[in-house]
């Protein structure tokens, strides 16, 4: 396995500088379009270059605007609640996310259980990522979080550790979808260790500068933007360093459709969904899907010499 130099990009490089600065401003204002007015009402005088709805607009490094908070929070694949993407927000409303602990263990030198506040204490950064669902729709999402690599560095993986396995919370009382007998609960996902160490792999705690809403995987989830959305596991309670490729939920359900790697790839066909094109939520026309969801530069080195077809 190749464990070459991890390409790292500061978030200021992901976003064009102008947009980034606007975003900083937006973050400072901590709110939506009405933030300026709100602050004015609180006695804070808006300065001349205060964010207006136009400058508040966020975009990814390709210049595509971020989806709205409403879109990101009302179209969710979160089968622990329901298979109805629009129904998740409502059902997840009362999902308790405090207290919350994440157990990090397995083949590590310093196994440790983190309280959610300890995870929020890692230096948080904003990253605008594309999310490409295996169902052929996509969004641009302004996440807040910190690189998974930083957490892994703290627990120190042993040399025998080759994969990272993630487990989602199983809360029967608040997650009605768990009653479905057709899925091997709990939701599990995994990454190869070098993928997990890639700077793009983000542990997410927030969205649009606010705490992550339950329907989007509160209080902590993963975002691996070069892979199909189902790899970005939600509401994580356990992170295990392991030697063997871990079993993952969708791969168990239909191995021929949901590979372990699940890298976004327009040339690897899927029996149900188109993978060559996608619909950006909010747009009417389809757009062509990009290899590694447009993150080739940062991640293609991870797969050098490996067939992306047989290892889909």
């Amino acid at each position: 396995m190749r464990t070459g130099k991890i390409p790292s990009i500061p978030s200021s490089e992901i976003t064009p500088e102008g947009v980034y600065l606007n975003r900083r401003q937006f973050m400072k204002l901590a709110g939506g379009a009405g933030a300026a007015a709100l602050l004015a009402a609180c006695g804070v005088q808006p300065t001349e270059n205060v964010a207006t709805p136009e400058t508040l607009s966020l975009a990814d490094e390709l210049g595509d605007p971020a989806n709205t908070f409403e879109q990101i929070t009302h179209y969710n694949n979160y089968y622990e609640f329901t298979t109805d993407k629009e129904g998740v927000a409502n059902l997840a409303e009362d999902f308790p996310t405090t207290p919350w602990q994440v157990e990090v263990g397995g083949l590590v030198q310093n196994p440790r259980t983190y309280d959610i506040d300890q995870l929020r204490a890692f230096q948080q950064e904003e990253r605008i990522y594309r999310l490409r669902c295996v169902e052929a729709w996509s969004m641009v999402i302004p996440w807040t979080g910190f690189p998974l690599a930083k957490l892994l560095a703290e627990v120190e993986p042993m040399t025998s550790a080759r994969y990272v396995a993630f487990t989602t919370k199983m809360d029967e009382e608040h997650m009605p979808g768990l009653k479905s007998p057709f899925y091997p609960w709990p939701y599990t996902e995994g990454l190869r260790l070098d993928e997990a160490m890639n700077d793009l792999a983000l542990l997410v705690t927030g969205l649009y500068g606010k705490d992550l809403p339950p329907q989007d995987g509160a209080p902590i989830r993963l975002a691996v933007p070069w892979k199909y959305g189902f790899k970005s596991v939600k509401s994580i309670v356990k992170i295990d360093l392991v030697e063997e490729m871990p079993e993952t939920l969708w791969n168990t359900v239909a191995a021929n459709e949901y590979g372990f790697y699940a890298n976004v790839n327009p040339d690897v066909h899927h029996p149900r969904w188109s993978q060559a094109t996608e619909r950006r939520i909010g747009e009417t026309k389809r757009r062509e899907t990009l290899l590694f969801n447009g993150y080739s530069e940062q991640v293609s080195a991870l797969y050098e010499g490996m067939s992306l077809y047989s290892n889909f």
Binding site: Y75, V253, P271, T277, T284, R286
Partner: protein
């Protein structure tokens, strides 16, 4: 000919109610109430509605077998036609709205997708049945018309297969997003079982026996003296006696 035209309130109801899902769907689409991914939702909803109509159409004959409601048989044509309309809408929404009739994109995405072929077979069958559903074809084709229209069961089966192929999961291993194909498959299976001649004959015999018993009961003065005021029709008594004798 005139018999065909006799007023059938059920059929009128079907023709009034059937466009309602379309109105609701179009209304939701244009008022932005069709999820934030409206094109995919429109396609999927039209497909679901088409399958529901097709299953309702297939249920007519079994319902008549079970409950002796021959009027329901008259609903097969309108229900089948509405199934065809919604299936066409489903296909048009996918190819037209979703892909903007961009066949380069469409073919690139679908050349290897089994569900597309199965869907096309379903729509082809439904088109053939819709096209020949007029009385003129019935007369022209004679005996063959009935044979041809038995294909509606095949259409039902391939429609359910199409549904099973588009869900996320694996029907064979009973894992995934399965409730829709399981529900549709169960209705289809029940309808098919009730079409098996032996089953059909048995069900009708049972039904007649139950009715015969009821008729004879009301005929026995010692048991039900008041029943004399409402004597059962002679025909029903005869059927009842026959059913009892055959026991």
């Amino acid at each position: 000919m005139t018999a065909e035209k006799t007023a059938n309130p059920l059929r009128t109801a079907v023709n009034i109610l059937s466009p309602i899902p379309l109105v609701v769907l179009v209304g939701a689409y244009f008022t932005n109430n069709l999820t934030i991914n409206p094109i995919q939702a429109a396609t999927q909803r039209a497909g679901d509605i088409a399958i529901i109509f097709l299953l309702l159409c297939l249920a007519c004959s079994p319902v008549n077998t079970l409950f002796d409601l021959p009027k329901v048989l008259k609903l097969r044509r309108p229900l089948g036609l509405w199934a065809f309309y919604y299936a066409s809408l489903h296909m048009l929404s996918y190819v037209g709205l979703d892909y903007g009739f961009n066949f380069a994109f469409f073919n690139q995405d679908h050349a290897d997708k089994l569900y597309v072929y199965v869907g096309l077979i379903t729509l082809t069958l439904l088109s053939a049945l819709a096209f020949t559903s007029r009385r003129w074809w019935k007369v022209k084709l004679g005996k063959n018309w009935k044979k041809l229209h038995k294909l509606v069961y095949l259409a039902g089966a391939v429609a359910v297969l199409h549904l099973a192929l588009v869900i996320k999961g694996n029907l064979l291993e009973l894992m995934g997003d399965l409730w829709k194909p399981i529900a549709a498959g169960s209705v289809l299976l029940a309808a098919l079982i009730l079409r098996i001649p032996a089953v059909k004959t048995w069900v009708i015999a049972q039904r007649q026996k139950i009715r015969a018993a009821r008729v004879l009961k009301t005929q026995t003065p010692s048991l039900q003296p008041a029943a004399l005021d409402h004597p059962a029709p002679a025909g029903e008594v005869r059927v009842a006696e026959k059913a009892l004798k055959s026991e």
